[in-house]
């Protein structure tokens, strides 16, 4: 197992890159608003991983604290976003994001 690289910063960054990529993909491609929200959560988690990883290897508390706040805001965001999604559903009878295009032109 000596050939294994010791777990370092790049591993965490790689994971976060994948999470970000998947999150973005979800936001871009999925029609269901709920799934889009899930993608957003993924992106936030990717960011959090980066914060904490850098904080760990840097030795400061900034990243930790920041991620804490990010989690709080993510909670708030989720609550608001869901409320909006429910409102959208009430108005358009659908949560299909692609069909909600009344701002076109």
């Amino acid at each position: 197992m000596e050939h294994l690289v010791p777990i370092g910063l790049n591993h965490y960054l790689t994971i976060s890159a994948f999470l970000l990529g998947f999150g973005l993909f979800a936001v871009m491609t999925r029609k269901n608003a709920i799934v889009v929200l899930m993608g957003v959560e993924l992106i936030l988690n990717a960011a959090n991983i980066n914060f904490i990883a850098f904080s760990k290897y840097n030795g400061g508390m900034g990243g930790i604290m920041f991620s804490l706040f990010v989690i709080v805001i993510a909670a708030a965001e989720a609550a608001i976003a869901l409320a909006i999604v429910i409102n959208i559903f009430k108005i358009f009878k659908s949560v299909d994001v692609s069909s909600i295009d009344s701002m076109k032109e």
Partner: protein, 174 residues
């Protein structure tokens, strides 16, 4: 302290859980599956936090995400459609540009990370439990953001409750 091999294996395990469950969240056509898959992702991430000495954050992650947000999302799914409704299966669009960008972004980021040789880990890395330090920081250095975030959260929750309210007789006529 466990030995490095075990440590490494456990890390890869959790990393794989996180990445693959995230992939499943995205690629699954069924929203319910996605939601449950997301559960695994959150857990995986929480485990990674533990590896990063951020035990308090990991706990918070589990409590907030899994206990709060994910449940919220599931409620959202259920409020909008029936669980097993076929329409719940979400369609995709922009599949080709989405895939290209997915690959491109991930590739570009990884390329950047691995071609960057200037990561120099600090001599004083964080070790052990940070709960005490977080408490300290929260009420000293970060007291103002903390208070603001709590107010924000309160406001957001009230706002969300207001927005999501059913049956607004005042607005019906307008």
């Amino acid at each position: 302290m466990m030995n490095s091999l075990t440590y490494t294996v456990i890390f890869y395990l959790f990393a794989a859980i996180t990445v693959f469950s995230a992939a499943f969240v995205v690629f699954s056509r069924n929203v319910i599956y996605s939601a449950f898959s997301l559960l695994f992702t959150f857990f995986g991430v929480a485990a990674l936090y533990v590896f990063l000495s951020a035990d308090f954050i990991a706990v918070t992650q589990v409590v907030v995400y899994v206990g709060g947000i994910l449940v919220l999302l599931l409620f959202g799914v259920m409020f909008t459609k029936g669980i097993m409704d076929t329409e719940v299966k979400s369609d995709v669009l922009h599949i080709i540009p989405g895939t290209l960008i997915l690959a491109g972004i991930i590739g570009a980021l990884l390329y950047t990370f691995y071609t960057t040789h200037t990561w120099k880990p600090s001599e004083t890395q964080l070790h052990g439990s940070l709960v005490e330090r977080i408490g300290f920081e929260t009420v000293s250095h970060y007291v103002l953001p903390f208070e603001m975030v709590s107010i924000l959260l309160l406001a957001a929750l009230i706002g969300a409750a207001f927005l999501a309210r059913f049956d607004k007789p005042d607005n019906k006529n307008s």
